[in-house]
């Protein structure tokens, strides 16, 4: 357990120094601020534009960080040949992988916290009261965090057995497809309905973790959202378990 935390701490420090992470976070901050400017273009109901665009900007940046940083963590170490000296120490492969993931999760949470703070500030300044930053706001953010954890776990899975570039491409494709599985299953009629059902179970159903509508209308997320949160955590855990399985058997020579 000590090794796991040590690796995660190293991961957090390493990632926070990366240009990609810093640039994406900066871009996220710019996008959230841009949502404030966009809110000025609407006719009445500024809140709906601010909250919707702000939350989507946070999601976009969070998912991109999870994809590009996550897919680089294990495969990047292999490509740079820094994995071997680490594994030569009394650290199991699973401990190493989980430590990397834990570090990634901390970075994703930190990013989300920065963007959440900024969006909350904008919403409060616009409304002139603390009312927009209530339970519904934090519930929407919590669901978004779970989305990032799922995407991060998928990135770790691909990173465990393929190159950084391929892992990033696969994870990005799955992150996009994961936003559409619900729609595909609902709209697919006629023969071959097993195909969307199969996709529904295989791919992460990320759209179930979107709480934009609930935030726009200041209503608590539907009961299904908490089921989706449990599903998201279970999916991330399963992806990590598969990543460990693959990584344990991988020939690192």
């Amino acid at each position: 357990m000590r090794h796991l935390f040590a690796i995660s701490l190293v991961t957090v420090r390493e990632v926070l120094r990366r240009k990609l992470q810093v640039n994406l976070l900066f871009f996220g901050v710019v996008l959230v601020v841009a949502s404030y400017l966009m809110g000025g273009l609407t006719l009445g109901e500024r809140y709906r534009i601010l909250s919707d665009l702000g939350l989507t900007a946070m999601q976009l940046i969070g998912v991109l960080v999870a994809v590009f940083v996550g897919s680089n963590l294990v495969s990047g170490d292999m490509e740079r040949r820094v994995l071997h000296p680490v594994l030569a120490k009394p650290i199991s492969r699973s401990g190493y992988l989980l430590g990397r993931y834990l570090g990634l999760a901390v970075v994703l949470t930190l990013n989300l916290a920065v963007m959440t703070g900024l969006l909350a500030l904008i919403l409060v300044a616009d409304a002139g009261s603390l009312s927009p930053v209530g339970r519904d706001f934090f519930e929407a953010v919590a669901l978004q965090e779970i989305q990032f954890l799922v995407v991060g776990a998928v990135a770790m899975l691909f990173s465990a057995f393929t190159s950084t570039t391929l892992a990033a491409i696969f994870t990005l494709a799955i992150a996009i497809a994961g936003q559409m599985t619900g729609e595909i299953r609902a709209l697919w009629k006629g023969p071959g309905t097993w195909i969307p059902s199969l996709l529904w179970y295989l791919l992460p159903n990320l759209s179930a973790l979107n709480a934009n509508e609930a935030l726009v209308y200041r209503s608590p997320p539907p009961a299904q959202a908490w089921l989706a949160a449990a599903y998201g955590l279970a999916y991330a855990a399963a992806a990590l378990a598969l990543a460990v399985l693959v990584f344990e058997r991988r020939d690192l020579r």
Binding site: T42, L43, I49, D52, I176, S207, N210, N212, E213, V216
Partner: protein, 298 residues
Amino acid sequence: MRTFRFAQATTFAGLALATWLLASRLDTGRLRPYDVGIVPKASTLRWLSLGHPTLAANLLWLKAVQYIGDPRANERGWDKLYPLVDTATDLDPRHAYAYYVAGTLLSAFDHVPESNAILEKGTRALPDRYILPYQRAFNAFYYEDDWNTAGRFAEISARAPGAPAHVRQNVLAYYVKGQRADAAVAFLEQSLAEAKDPETRKAVEAQIRQAMLERDAVRLDEAVEKWRSRYVIGPLSLEQLVTEKLLAEIPADPHGGELYVDEDGRVRSTANPYRFSKPEPAWTRVPRPRLDKEGKAP
């Protein structure tokens, strides 16, 4: 070296000049009013939004706001407002403000059927917003002289939570002018059954009395009209109508007074002589002024 630098500076100056000349010939877009080319289908946008239909709806709404806000909007026309807002509300059916704004503007700019369509869609999607059916009722009586439809939508509006008390009076007025005072009585009796406080009950009871008077007075007015066609002048009393077999009996005055025929041949109550005015026939009315290119009445 100096020649090389001079060549570099000349090349830069030449390219900058060419860019400036080309830029000055570009259409800046400000020369014509803001317009929308194609409004995509809601299903396409739903796919492209990757699970964020409200985001797609909000972006489309921002487009609609730009379309509405162009100072030369009347010069351009309003053809794309309905498809924009219809698609935005397909993606986000709870966008109440979009229904309201589009409904109000479309009717004001001679797109009454589209205004009605968007307001009816909003009424179906948001039964708790009284303003949407209220606006639809306004369209019906103001633009279409359809008092019955106005009454029907005013009734929907009056039943919505938070509807102001005056909407009930609108229901009464529209139904009476649409010759459907019986529908007004039925609606008001139901309102009375649901009224909890004594003030509301008192107000509704007064409206019921007026509605009953209007319902009965229509029959009486018709009998008076027949009398006048026979004898040129009006009857001296309502009893003469019974004697002449134009009426079976004289109904009781719902206000508790006596019914009488005034100089204009309309039946009124001594306790409350108020009657709703008859709607003007469409052919007698001065046509509504069409708005000019700046949106003002000439």
